[in-house]
């Protein structure tokens, strides 16, 4: 996505504030995680749009969840979702978070993220390119705006 186009969409959505994002790996392979990090670094540089990765879910507007949910992470994902203040949006990044991907039929895999917490935006890909991740976050902005205006519960 072009810089100007993205700015335009952010403007259209009327989102006045910077978007803070918390990244949580629930049992993925790291592929999506390094692409999220790549999106923050100079070539993609999401920070110029005010999108910032934060170190605590208590500060976040958006949860980026990567990976299929493993047994020990099951309760922790719920806890982190509960710790994120409303209004919040959850983005499932990658095939594993969306559908559990290649990880099925195991004693330690509890399934995709939407088995555990509600997911608003799905970004497919294994792993999705940084552009796709940014696109997913922009879709989340639109949703967050609507939540703020009280149009959706």
């Amino acid at each position: 996505m072009k810089h100007a186009e993205l700015l335009e969409r952010l403007k259209l959505s009327g989102f006045k504030r910077a978007l803070w994002v918390y990244h949580l790996n629930t049992g993925g392979c790291n592929g999506c995680d390094i692409e999220i990090l790549a999106a923050l670094t100079p070539r993609y540089d999401v920070e110029r749009f005010g999108i910032k990765l934060v170190g605590s879910p208590r500060h976040a507007d958006v949860l980026l969840v990567t990976g299929t949910v493993t047994r020990p992470m099951y309760e922790r994902v719920k806890r982190i979702y509960a710790q994120t203040p409303d209004p919040k949006v959850v983005i499932a990044i990658g095939g594993c978070a969306s559908t559990s991907g290649v990880f099925y039929d195991s004693y330690n895999v509890m399934g995709p993220v939407d088995n555990v917490i509600p997911v608003d935006v799905y970004v497919p890909g294994c792993p999705p390119r940084p552009e796709a991740i940014i696109d997913g976050v922009v879709k989340a902005v639109v949703k967050l705006e609507r939540l703020l205006e009280g149009k959706e519960g």
Binding site: S100, D105, S106, N115
Partner: protein, 181 residues
């Protein structure tokens, strides 16, 4: 280090107790061709420590992994060692096959000889339900505490309770008894 040296040293120490010793070779390389060698042998659990000590005296010793499988009424463990790292083309893989009965699955721990083996021994305890005598730390490592089964055992009736079929068609396949066939 060549495979024959390793084998000779082991045979000197263990004699007949080293069963079915075998050197498998593989040709590798395109312009510079080499013979890569792997030593395979079967030993009893009582001879394991002596065998590992012999390897340790031969040269720099590295334990890659212990792999294992449930073989009916016995559990088979394979110790994969690499002897002689540090010299070009000088490493020989030594693989010891070890089999213990399920009603007495105790193997001596080799941590006293090679402390780096602790991770893989702890893993075998939780995955296969074997015990290591003299292991300094026998707590769970990778599996969650609430998981009470040994996932690599084939005689675990409770294991299927834990397996979640996250993909619908995969569960259907299993009902027909096709999975893994």
């Amino acid at each position: 280090m060549r495979a024959q040296e390793v084998l000779t040293a082991l045979q000197e120490k263990l004699g007949e107790r080293l069963r079915a010793p075998e050197v498998r070779t593989e040709a590798i390389g395109h312009k510079r061709t080499l013979e890569r060698e792997l030593v395979w042998a079967e030993i009893d659990r009582d001879d394991l420590l002596e065998a590992v000590r012999t390897l340790r005296e031969l040269g720099p010793l590295h334990i890659s992994i212990i792999s294992g499988v449930d073989a009916g009424d016995r559990i088979e463990l394979i110790y994969h060692f690499a002897v002689g790292y540090g010299t070009p083309d000088g490493e020989v893989m030594v693989n010891f096959r070890l089999s213990v009965p399920k009603n007495d699955p105790v193997v001596p721990s080799i941590c006293a000889v090679l402390p780096g083996a602790l991770t893989t021994e702890r893993e075998k305890i939780e995955f296969l339900g074997v015990q290591f005598s003299g292991i300094p730390d026998a707590r769970k490592l990778f599996l969650p505490d609430e998981l009470e089964v040994h996932p690599w055992r084939k005689d675990e009736p409770k294991l299927s309770d834990y397996v979640r079929y996250t993909v619908a068609w995969e569960a259907k396949k299993d009902e027909k008894g096709e999975a893994g066939a």
